[in-house]
């Protein structure tokens, strides 16, 4: 089996997957609290290859792409006039929210009060405090510099912030992440910054550079395929001549 064509196929398909990844980052360049994906290319090897002398070895035959863990890339902080908006100063810190599937983590601090006085995230999931969901707020609710939610007439409730530096995070959509099974969070390292919102961690310049690189890569792979095809054709012609 000619390994060069398989390698060409693997490279083109890795380039396409990487472009999907870049495309996702670029589409989310204005999504608050978005974390870009760390692209991961890995070379792959063939199954056992038997040499003429009977020795066996594994030959490299291509490359594969997989989206790696979310990059700890902070978005720019933007001032917000909303007293319920907050950002986090440490790159590894996350707010904790309660979803129907369990606890999830987010960098998107665009919180609000829902109709029943709970503090919820932009998707309506209750925001967790250190003693469970934050409730009991009416009008006049605000998040203070000490990272606690307070409203007139109720005691302040501290927001639960977890540090997930170095953990395996799973993307759940809507800027939410969950921890891989068996992993646990660490206590917060930084502070809650009220009156600010974190923008997207995706970077247009980086994304555009990736697009150009991937496009050129695919082009050179196509040239390699053509060269391989040309040499195969030359071989066939030579065989015809010798007959």
């Amino acid at each position: 089996m000619d390994l060069s064509l398989t390698a060409v196929y693997s490279a083109l398909s890795a380039a396409q997957s990487a472009m999907e990844n870049t495309s996702q980052d670029l589409a989310n360049v204005r999504t608050p609290g978005y974390r870009p994906q760390q692209p991961l290319f890995e070379s792959t090897v063939s199954s056992l290859w038997q040499g003429a002398d009977g020795s066996e070895e594994r030959l490299p035959w291509g490359v594969q792409f997989s989206p790696g863990r979310p990059l700890q890339q902070d978005g720019p902080l933007q001032a917000s006039s909303d007293p319920l908006h907050a950002a986090l100063s440490d790159s590894g810190d996350y707010f904790t929210v309660q979803t129907p599937q369990g606890t999830a983590y987010t960098r998107d601090g665009a919180f609000r009060m829902d109709g029943s006085g709970r503090l919820v995230d932009a998707s309506g999931n209750p925001v967790l405090g250190e003693d469970g969901p934050i409730e009991g707020g009416g009008a006049g609710g605000r998040i203070g510099p000490d990272g606690s939610f307070s409203a007139d007439g109720i005691p302040p409730q501290k927001l639960a912030v977890a540090n997930l530096q170095g953990r395996d995070l799973r993307r759940e959509g809507a800027q939410l992440f969950t921890l891989a099974p068996g992993q646990s969070s660490a206590p917060a390292k930084g502070a809650v910054v009220p009156g600010t919102l974190e923008g997207s961690g995706a970077d247009t310049f980086k994304g555009m550079a990736e697009l150009v690189t991937l496009s050129r890569w695919a082009e050179s792979v196509q040239k390699a395929a053509k060269a391989g095809d040309d040499s195969a054709e030359a071989l066939i012609q030579a065989a015809k001549l010798s007959n």
């Binding site: 472009m19 109709g115 932009a122 009008a139 695919a218």
Partner: protein, 251 residues
Amino acid sequence: MFKALEIAASGMASEQVAMNTVANNMANTNTVGFKSSQVRFEELLSSQESDGTLSATGVGVAGTQRDLSQGALTATGQTWDLAISGSGYFPVIDANGREAYTRAGSFHVDSEGHIVNPNGLALAAGITVPTGAQNVQVGQDGTVQALLPGNSQSVVLGKIDLVGFADEQGLTDRGNGLFDQNDASGPPLRQGAASNALQLGSIQQGALEGSNVNMVQEMVDMINTQRAYETGAKVITAADEMLGYANSLRR
């Protein structure tokens, strides 16, 4: 399946919604009581792949968020121009007899003596202003007093009660500066309502609350939106090229 094209298209569609919102804000820079809106983007992932992971499908618009900050008050000197300084809404009764809520306080008195907004919807307070009423005073707490013919002292005609909501963002915008309550916003709350330490604003007679649209911010948003849209178009070109290379493998 190569999804880069669809992902880029989702970004462009979302930016189009954002541009509509910017345009609407810009068009309402002079609308009384108008609150500017901003689109909220949300990362989209597909349903589960076979290996349990979720794959990227682009971006969507999760909704719009109103900027609830106070608009500038402008003195007009008109008796029935009322501005709210602080939070709260005027409850008015719509054509179907239901309550709607507005911050646009340019009222006038109709032929039947009702205090109505420019669309003819009467204040829910149900105050009737008798003909010949003079020297009308609307207090900061909403108390309406007037000097009636034949009387030497002002009489209280009624009180305009402002209402607030647990989640103002949840109110449904029905146009004409009117909002509807719903499950998300919670019911209308009056000042001093039990269990809610609600701080409603005060009423300023002879003034109107201007739009809170910040033109400079809108221009910046417009540029950002247009450039993000352009980025999507570039991704589509790059994805097209990529497919071209795949096609040209077979000569």
